[in-house]
């Protein structure tokens, strides 16, 4: 069965050897890579699930320290949520440009997405520095340890997403919409939308529920 699957893409040689011509990949930008990358995202979702679980368990362990209602600033969180949601939409527009084969359009929308992502990380770091200045440090209580771990893990993912995005912009600028670059954009798009989905969980369960407690 495996021989059957391997010989299928080329299909022309009887020896069973697999030859990859440059244009072969072009037929399916992604293929198994897309499924594989999605499996990675799902394993990442499990990491976030355990961090959410830890936060759920520790979210009331204040140890006499500040409670969520005292330290969370919802307008700042609303701004951050807006930035990340907008970046997801601009990435979607960039994908439309990719379907249309418009390299300049893809690069333009990727840069806008990257700026929105960087603004998100900037606002989050501003929030963290404000909290730490108030004495709400990660080591203050179980609640704050779990909070910083969960939110900073998400922020780190966004930061690496931005690094990936900048790399891709240079790649696109140099080589255009090659099959490799198309596959990379598809993967980054999944990664970026995935992080926005995680953020829905963060703003709902951490910030909104925390402020309503």
């Amino acid at each position: 069965m495996s021989a059957d699957l391997i010989s299928k893409p080329t299909g022309k040689n009887a020896s069973g050897r697999v030859y990859h011509r440059p244009e072969d990949d072009h037929h399916h930008a992604g293929g198994a890579t897309m499924v594989g990358f999605f499996i990675y995202l799902m394993s990442d979702a499990l990491i976030f699930a355990s961090l959410f679980a830890a936060y759920g368990v520790l979210s009331r362990n204040y140890a006499g320290g500040p409670s969520p209602r005292e330290i969370f600033e919802l307008p700042l969180v609303a701004l951050n949520t807006g930035l990340l949601l907008a970046s997801s939409i601009t990435f979607g527009i960039g994908m439309q440009a990719m379907v249309a084969g418009n390299v300049r359009g893809v690069i333009r929308w990727l840069i806008i997405t990257g700026i929105l992502g960087a603004a998100f990380v900037g606002v989050e770091l501003h929030e963290f520095s404000g909290l730490i200045a108030e004495g709400a440090t990660p080591q203050r209580s179980g609640f704050l340890s779990a909070f910083f771990t969960l939110v900073a893990t998400h922020g780190t993912h966004v930061t690496f997403g931005i690094i990936w995005l900048v790399t891709l912009v240079f790649q696109l600028n140099k080589r255009g919409l090659t099959p490799d670059n198309t596959r990379r954009i598809l993967c980054l798009s999944m990664f970026w939308h995935f992080l926005d989905i995680i953020w829905i969980g963060v703003f709902t369960f951490v910030y909104l529920f925390g402020a309503m407690r």
């Binding site: 930008a29 799902m42 979702a45 006499g64 307008p75 527009i93 829905i200 909104l208």
Partner: protein, 123 residues
Amino acid sequence: MSTSHHTPAGHGGAEHGNHGSKSSLWIGSILSIVLTVIPFWLAMSGATSAAAISAIFILAMVQIAVHVRYFLHIDSSTEGGWTFLAFIFTAIIVVITIIGSIWVMYHLNLNMMPMSIDEMRQM
């Protein structure tokens, strides 16, 4: 695995719904903006009732479904159903991990010696 997806089909991807159409992008965008604004409006207006919390919870679940459907483009036909299968499996594990941990640790807490805030401050 479905081999039909591996047949050469021109510029692969678009046929498989990997990046979706313009209309699905805009439907997803409008839905997600609405589903974000309502819970923030509820929480910032000072609502703390159980009904408001339930509403925000349901809106979050709906928004996750909207993002998965319209931004990630995962449905039962994508990649021969493998991504959908992986997503459902992960969702089940996520629910077991989160609900299970909170449930177990809540009961563990109930069986612990109670501690006052003053005692905690001295720790």
